[in-house]
């Protein structure tokens, strides 16, 4: 009874809106179209999560609830090893690229110097070069570098987690620079001048004024670098060596063979982690 009443008021309200011209047919079409797109964006992800709990061993049919796939996942040393590797690579890559990127952002935002334009190009190029080109280039480079090292020191090196990390840092730096530069642009430089007038030296000015104020930007850049590294597949595939697999590469190798709910389970966990990171970065931005 109440339901029908509220439905009829909604309908009446909609009719009123139409009459007043606030709601138009084209506006309605746009809304329906957008809802459909949101469905298109979310349906696959929701389905993926749901089917990580199915009993069906092919993961495409609902035959009852189970947590087996998660348990199996946590007992799979290969997957757990890959997950650990991924976290290690992402952590190291984040720390290094955030430091290097922040320094670069300071240089680009605060100084005028010869070759600044070229530097600008060098920083932004990794964002526009297709990742596969960067991946094969780094693969070729690592082969040559290993040859040179063998010639000089006699040591035989192989691709490992370090080579992947170097690659991840190379493409993360640019993104960190972009994010940190935005917060440096919004920065009121009079605060630094005031500190200088009050007798603070430049070391103190940086750590007490500049750094705390651009910290949200730096953390934002770091979170972006972390997510980029976690999600990276192409460079990880080309640069990881035998026995040093990363999670996306491991998922790829298994998906190519067959679809199993275990992959759904690991995907759901990866999804969860990404969402936590996004929520964190949003919280930080709101505080800014």
């Amino acid at each position: 009874m109440i339901k029908t009443a509220s439905a009829s008021t909604t309908l009446a309200r909609a009719r009123g809106a139409f009459a007043e011209g606030r709601l138009t047919w084209s506006g309605l079409a746009l809304t329906v179209f957008s809802i459909l797109i949101y469905l298109f964006l979310y349906a696959p992800i929701v389905i993926l999560v749901i089917f990580s709990f199915t009993r069906d061993e092919f993961g495409v049919r609902w035959t009852g609830f189970t947590l087996d796939w998660y348990i199996r996942l946590f007992n799979n040393p290969r997957m757990m090893g890959a997950a650990w590797n991924t976290l290690v690579v992402a952590s190291v890559s984040t720390v290094v690229s955030t430091i290097i990127g922040t320094l670069l952002a300071m240089a680009m935002e605060r100084y005028r110097f010869r070759g600044r334009g070229a530097m600008e190009g060098l920083i932004y190029l990794p964002i526009v070069v297709p990742e596969i080109v960067m991946a094969v280039a780094l693969l070729a480079f690592s082969a040559i570098a290993f040859d040179v090292i063998k010639l000089v020191t006699g040591e035989t090196l192989r691709r490992n987690l370090a080579t992947v990390t170097i690659g991840h840092i190379a493409f993360s730096i640019s993104f960190v620079v972009v994010v940190v530069r935005t917060s440096l642009k919004n920065f009121d430089r009079r605060l630094e001048e005031a500190a200088a007038d009050l007798g603070a030296d430049s070391w103190n000015i940086f750590w007490r004024i500049t750094f705390p104020l651009i910290l949200p930007g730096i953390i934002g850049g770091a979170l972006l670098a972390f997510t980029l590294s976690l999600d990276d597949f192409i460079i990880s595939l080309f640069l990881s060596g035998p026995g040093t697999s990363l999670l996306p590469v491991e998922v790829y190798n298994r998906v190519r063979r067959a679809v199993t709910p275990e992959i759904n389970a690991i995907s759901t966990l990866m999804l969860l982690l990404s969402m936590v990171l996004v929520a964190l970065s949003q919280l930080l931005q709101r505080r800014r």
């Binding site: 964006l41 349906a43 992800i45 100084y111 480079f141």
Partner: protein, 289 residues
């Protein structure tokens, strides 16, 4: 006084050097130099074991232009990327418009909803479509249930296209939203008052003024699509070769591997990309005039 200034200048220069050096070194050593190496490799040849032989030649480029396997992969990748970009634009523009015209407090959440799938691992998102489109998958179950019967939905170029659009759509929507959000909608009313139809007003006022968003979104979608190989492998069934599939095979799996030929393909892809983007920029800025 002059000496103090000089001292200050020197200190500034040292500080700048310290800020620049780590980044400059890293990007030159692990980005620029590797690119130079594959340009050099693209003019070399390889032996029966897949090792690079340092003997200058144009053979790799000649192979690419004369063998249909390679030249077709370029056409296929370019065509698929153009198609993906156009469809993303057609889907993304109304969506961005919808978000920009929503009540203020709804805009950020609606935008975040676009962003969340984008933060999800690309591989995971493509895999999700495998579950839906597989022969024993969800959609076929549904089709069978309503009496149409099973269809072959996966392992074709259509499935590849769906995966690409799905993966790249957020990249299109974000810059479009930024551009439309800045657009002053009273201009549309002004155009209507002056007798312009809605289509005219859109084509002559709104579209030109939001062109920077269109260009940025298109470039962001086009670049990764041109070099992709995962989608065509997982959803397309690796039946036909795209640029990325060939490059990946030449570098990692072919027997023998052929890095010089793979390098030539990668270098040529970069050149194609630069030329197309330049043409696109020229075409879109001329429209503005």
């Amino acid at each position: 006084m002059a000496m103090l200034q000089q001292q200050q200048q020197r200190r500034d220069r040292i500080r700048l050097m310290l800020l620049l050096t780590p980044g400059l070194l890293w990007l030159v050593l692990f980005f620029a130099l590797p690119l130079v190496i594959i340009v050099i490799y693209s003019f070399m040849t390889n032996d029966a074991l897949g090792r690079v032989v340092y003997q200058p030649t144009l053979d790799n480029y000649i192979t690419i232009f004369t063998q249909s396997l390679y030249i077709n992969a370029y056409w296929r990748s370019i065509w698929t990327s153009v198609l993906t970009t156009v469809i993303c634009l057609l889907l993304g523009y109304p969506l961005a418009l919808f978000i920009a015209r929503s009540p203020q407090q709804w805009r950020m959440p609606l935008l975040m909803l676009i962003l969340i799938p984008f933060w999800t691992n690309f591989l995971v998102r493509i895999y999700a479509w495998q579950i839906i489109l597989a022969n024993n998958g969800l959609l076929n179950g549904l089709l069978e249930f309503i009496g149409i019967g099973r269809l072959s939905l996966i392992n074709n170029e259509g499935a590849t296209l769906i995966g690409l659009i799905y993966g790249e759509l957020p990249f299109m929507v974000l810059p479009l939203y930024a551009a439309i959000d800045r657009f002053d909608f009273t201009l549309m009313e002004a155009a209507a008052d002056l007798g312009a139809s809605r289509v005219q007003a859109f084509l002559r006022i709104m579209l030109p003024m939001t062109m920077p968003g269109v260009v940025a979104g298109s470039v962001l979608v086009f670049i990764p699509t041109l070099g992709q190989f995962v989608v065509s492998e997982l959803l397309g069934g690796a039946k036909v070769d795209y640029l990325g599939n060939l490059i990946q095979r030449l570098f990692l799996r072919a027997n023998p591997i052929n890095w010089p030929l793979g390098s030539a393909m990668a270098v040529l892809m970069m050149i194609v990309l630069l030329v197309l983007i330049m043409l696109y920029f020229r075409a879109t800025t001329e429209e503005e005039r």
